[in-house]
Symmetry: C2
Subunit: 193 residues, 2 copies
C-alpha cells in the first residue's frame, strides 16, 4: 500500500518550523524544539537546512514571492483602480486562507533575518508597498477614490487585512467569499450607512 506520496522531510520540517515560529516566535524556538516536532534529533536538521536562519529565509522569501506574483497579475489587468483594490484584498485573503501558519511567520518574524537578507527582504517589501500605493494614487487621480493622504490609505488597507492571520488561527468558520465581501464593503464604502 503506497501512501499518496506525501511531502518530503524537508517540507515537513519547513511546515513545523512555520508553526513554531508563529506560535512561539523565531528566537524562542530552538532547533531541539523543531527536531522534536518532526521526530528526529537536532543535528539531523542540518542535513536539510544550513542553519536555523536558512529555514526562516525560505519562509520569508517564498511568501514574498507569492504576494509579488499576485500583485503583478493585478497590475497587468485592465481593471479600474477600485476593481484592482478589490482584487488585492482578495489576494491577501486567499493567501491567508491557503497557508496561514507560513504567512504569519513571514509577517512577524522577518526581522530576525541577518544581513544581507534582511536588507533584501525590506527592499522587496518596500517595492510591494509602493506599487500598492500607486494603484491607490491612480484611483485618486482618476476621481474614483476619495482624496486623502495616500500613505495613510495604503497602510490602513494593509493592516486591516493583517488581523486575518490571528482570526483564522482561532478557528472561526467564515468563508473567504464572505470575508472578501464584508472587508471590501467596509474599506470601500465605510462603516456608516
Amino acid at each position: 500500500m503506497t501512501m499518496p506520496e506525501p511531502k518530503s522531510k524537508r517540507d515537513e520540517i519547513r511546515e513545523a518550523a512555520a508553526r513554531l515560529f508563529r506560535d512561539k516566535g523565531y528566537a524562542a524556538t530552538s532547533m531541539r524544539d523543531l527536531a522534536g516536532a518532526v521526530d528526529i534529533k537536532a543535528s539531523s536538521l542540518y542535513n536539510h537546512f544550513d542553519s536555523k536562519e536558512d529555514i526562516l529565509r525560505q519562509i520569508c522569501f517564498d511568501n514574498a514571492q507569492r504576494f509579488l506574483a499576485g500583485l503583478q497579475e493585478v497590475e497587468n489587468s485592465a481593471d479600474s483602480a477600485t476593481e484592482k483594490l478589490r482584487a488585492l484584498i482578495g489576494l491577501h485573503i486567499q493567501i491567508a486562507t491557503e497557508d496561514l501558519t507560513s504567512i504569519t511567520a513571514f509577517n512577524d518574524e522577518w526581522r530576525h533575518l541577518n544581513e544581507p537578507y534582511l536588507s533584501e527582504f525590506k527592499t522587496i517589501r518596500r517595492d510591494y508597498e509602493r506599487r500598492f500605493q500607486s494603484i491607490i494614487e491612480d484611483g485618486m487621480n482618476k476621481g474614483e477614490l476619495r482624496s486623502m493622504d495616500s500613505h495613510i490609505a495604503t497602510y490602513t488597507l494593509f493592516s486591516s487585512m493583517r488581523w486575518l492571520y490571528d482570526w483564522y488561527k482561532s478557528g472561526k468558520r467564515i468563508s473567504a467569499d464572505e470575508l472578501q465581501r464584508d472587508i471590501s464593503a467596509l474599506l470601500m464604502n465605510g462603516l456608516s450607512v
Copy 2:
C-alpha cells in the same frame, strides 16, 4: 543646579526594555543587552525587577490599563455609536503617539508572558474587544452603521489602527489630528468617492 527631577532608574530600565523588546523582540533581548543600555551590570537589574518577565508584565498590564480607562470614558459618554467609534480611533492614535515604544512591545510581545499572567492578560484583552464590538453592534442596531458581520468590522477597525506603531517608528511627520481625520474618514465613509 538641580536637574528637573528626571525618571527613576527603574523607569529608565523600563523604557530601555520597551525599546529593546520592540526592536529585537522579548526572546532575543538578553538581560545583558538591557543592562548595557542603562549602563549597569546585568545582575544589578535584579535590584529593580524580579525577573525579565516581570519587566514585560509591567509593560503589558500598564498599557492594557490605559486602553481600558479610555474605553470606559467613551462608554460613559452619551454620544452616538458613530461618535464613540471616532473617539476610540482617537484613543488608539493618542496612545500610540504618546508612548510608542511601550505600546509596540505591549502589542507584539505579550505572548511571552508566563501563566497565570498570560491567561489574565488574554482575559483583559478579550474584554476590551467585546466592549468595542458592543459599540459597533449597538450602532448597527440603531441603523447608524452598515449591517455586516460585527466580528469582521471590529477586527478590521482594530488592526487598521495597529500599523500606526510601525509608521510612527519610521519617523513620519504627520499630526495626530490629521491621522485621526483621515483614518476616521476612511473607516467611516470608505475609500470610494
